[in-house]
């Protein structure tokens, strides 16, 4: 398994990251404007000096090479918009917040999603099936920027159970976690249900019934494992997206997470910040997909030989 992971890192992760970094580097330079074009009163002398300080006066290709050499040592350079601070510092500061929020949201989504899927699939086409599935359909359809304020209105303003915004106490974490996890609950519930309906008609389920096992045991012991494979492959990209933060949720609840940087950096043409967030996000995404591949092979014994 160690060999499999090493192989993945050297032949997949690193090449992908280089390609992504290269494409991003040139694409953002193609976009009109630059990091200092929004400043109103900036004299040409200052601009020349700024460009010289950040190395923007050099040939684009030279800039590319210096930049690539630098990110190998995990140095993403200074931010253009947050003077005196490096991109690495900013990410290191805000990522733990997003990670924490993402992990809560992920836990909520996995537990409630699988539970809802089990409830729905335990009696297909019944009232409880339709009810669970339409609620989860609603969860997919309602966007977070509606769900967030609705939850705040109900639980903070009317009931007064949780604070409206902020990130200081544990009760601060509850509403944003639910808001962020909501959409994923729905996806996981639908995937679990679909997977269960597929496995419940397999011959080996009939064998389990012929052994006299009760339905609940068959559902959990025999059917769930195979049914969770599609959920697992969905969880890779989903988890990567969740722990890297959401601009919308972080804005609604004033959370100092990583999500806002993705959007702010792009608007500000903060070149180094864009590069930093994109490469970081890509790294997380690729890592989680590798983790999912390992987990899938662990769940499915027929794939275990692929880990060698």
């Amino acid at each position: 398994m160690v060999r499999f992971i090493l192989k993945r890192i050297f032949f997949e992760t690193i090449p992908s990251l280089i390609v992504i970094a290269t494409i991003t580097f040139f694409l953002i330079r193609l976009a009109p404007g630059g990091p200092f074009s929004t400043e109103k009163s900036i004299s040409p002398e200052v601009l020349t000096q700024l460009n010289a300080f950040y190395g923007l006066d050099k040939h684009l290709f030279t800039q590319y090479l210096t930049y690539m050499a630098r990110i190998i040592t995990f140095d993403f350079g200074p931010s253009f918009k947050y003077p005196g601070r490096t991109v690495t510092e900013l990410i290191a500061e805000s990522f733990p917040v997003s990670l924490e929020l993402g992990v809560y949201a992920l836990c909520i989504a996995i537990v409630s999603g699988i539970l809802a899927g089990l409830i729905a699939a335990s009696k297909p086409s019944s009232l409880r099936d339709y009810l669970t599935m339409s609620i989860s359909m609603g969860g997919i359809c309602i966007p977070t920027f509606v769900m967030g304020p609705l939850l705040v209105l109900l639980f903070s303003l009317i009931l007064g159970w949780f604070p409206v915004s902020g990130w200081n106490t544990f009760s601060n974490r509850i509403l944003p976690s639910i808001t962020l996890g909501m959409v994923y609950i729905a996806y996981i519930a639908r995937l679990t249900r679909g997977g269960l309906l597929d496995t419940m008609v397999q011959d080996y389920i009939r064998t389990a019934r012929a052994k006299g096992l009760p339905e609940r045991l068959i559902l959990i012991r025999h059917a769930l494992r195979g049914a969770l494979l599609p959920v697992l492959s969905f969880l890779g990209p989903a988890a990567a997206g969740l722990i890297t933060g959401s601009f919308v949720v972080e804005t609604i609840f004033s959370i100092p997470g990583l999500g806002r940087f993705f959007v702010a950096a792009a608007f500000n043409r903060d070149y180094t910040m864009i590069m930093g967030t994109v490469v970081f996000y890509a790294f997380i995404m690729i890592s989680f997909n590798t983790i999912v591949d390992v987990l899938t092979a662990l769940v499915n014994p027929r794939l275990r030989s692929s880990l060698r």
Partner: protein, 324 residues
């Protein structure tokens, strides 16, 4: 332990039509007897077998009639009662061993499941018992192999494992649904020997479903020939093969390839299976039968004894109009 089937009917009620898979089957399996059910694909053999343990999803299926086992009607007893019988007193072996085992679970966990669930045996004890049973089925190094997954086994080995799984609770009755169909000929013979050995050891009754007449002839004490959900001929194995009393059975026997005269190598029965959505008015085989006449098509046929221990549903045979 005997089972007495009395007018078992299994029909599937779909939105626009009704499929009659089993149309009133009655027979008795005596104690320690191996009874064969033979017939073409689609004749209702498997549905009958699955109906006996309520393994057909209801709805859409409706099962009526009686299958009495130890004073319990298997077809209508409540779910908890049938669960206590399944895998404990009546076990089942399926056709395709690779799909019948759960690919995500180790064989050991699957084989000991009935014992742990029904008899509350400890896992350690159950495993010892399973290894012993697996060794008896001819799997060498069983204590090691039991910890593998189904895909690591060959078809023949898996079928042995399935036999061990079915017999681990020492059931009084076994339903074997084409247990050798997915296997090659030499493995078939080994599996049949194995089943016979266990049948004598555990004193089981067996319902043995097959479309292979050769296997039925060597393995079963008595044979039921099934077609379109009904039994057309039944009797002691020798009697059915020596003094065949139904044109369908005759046609089936003729279809068995023979090495003696390869010139007319592969015979078949012309025509197609009786439409299972149609109600039965006469003999279901009449449309494909060389001997049929108008009377056959319009007169409902019932099994009647033609010789001691041998019954046929063919009206013309019963009236002595034809002989095969």
């Amino acid at each position: 332990m005997p089972i007495e089937l009395n007018n078992v009917v299994t029909s599937f009620h779909l939105r626009k039509s009704v499929i009659y898979a089993v149309r009133g089957v009655s027979f008795t399996v005596k104690d320690k007897e191996i009874i064969g059910i033979v017939g073409e694909s689609g004749s209702g053999k498997s549905v009958l077998a699955l109906s006996l343990l309520q393994l057909i999803p209801r709805p859409p299926a409706i099962i009526s009639g009686e299958a009495v086992f130890d004073n319990v009607n298997l077809l209508s007893c409540d779910p908890s009662q049938i669960r206590s019988i399944r895998g404990k007193r009546i076990s089942m072996i399926f056709q395709d061993p690779l799909s019948a085992f759960n690919p995500f679970m180790q064989l050991s966990d699957q084989i000991i499941e009935p014992l742990i669930y029904h008899d509350r045996v400890s896992k350690k004890e159950a495993l010892e018992f399973a290894v012993d049973l697996l060794t008896q089925t001819g799997i060498s190094d069983a204590h090691h192999k039991i910890n593998t997954y189904p895909h690591q086994f060959s078809g023949g080995m898996l079928q042995r494992a399935m036999i061990a799984m079915a017999l681990i609770t020492k059931p009084a009755f076994l339903i074997a649904d084409e247990p050798t169909t997915a296997l090659d000929v030499t493995t078939q013979a080994q599996i049949l020997d194995l089943l016979k050995m266990f049948q004598q050891k555990f004193l089981m009754s067996i319902i043995f479903i097959t479309h292979n007449l050769g296997i039925a002839a060597t393995f079963c004490d008595r044979i039921n020939v099934m077609y379109a959900g009904t039994i057309l001929e039944c009797g002691v194995t020798n009697e059915v093969f020596r003094h065949t009393a139904h044109p369908y059975t005759k046609a089936l026997i003729r279809c068995v390839p023979s090495l003696d005269n390869p010139a007319d190598s592969l015979q078949m029965i012309s025509g197609s299976l009786f439409d299972s959505s149609q109600p039965l008015t006469g003999c279901p085989f009449a449309a494909r039968c060389d001997y049929s006449n108008e009377y056959c098509r319009s007169t409902p046929c019932t099994l009647e004894e033609v010789a001691p221990g041998h019954a046929s549903a063919c009206v013309r045979i019963k009236k002595g109009e034809i002989s095969l």
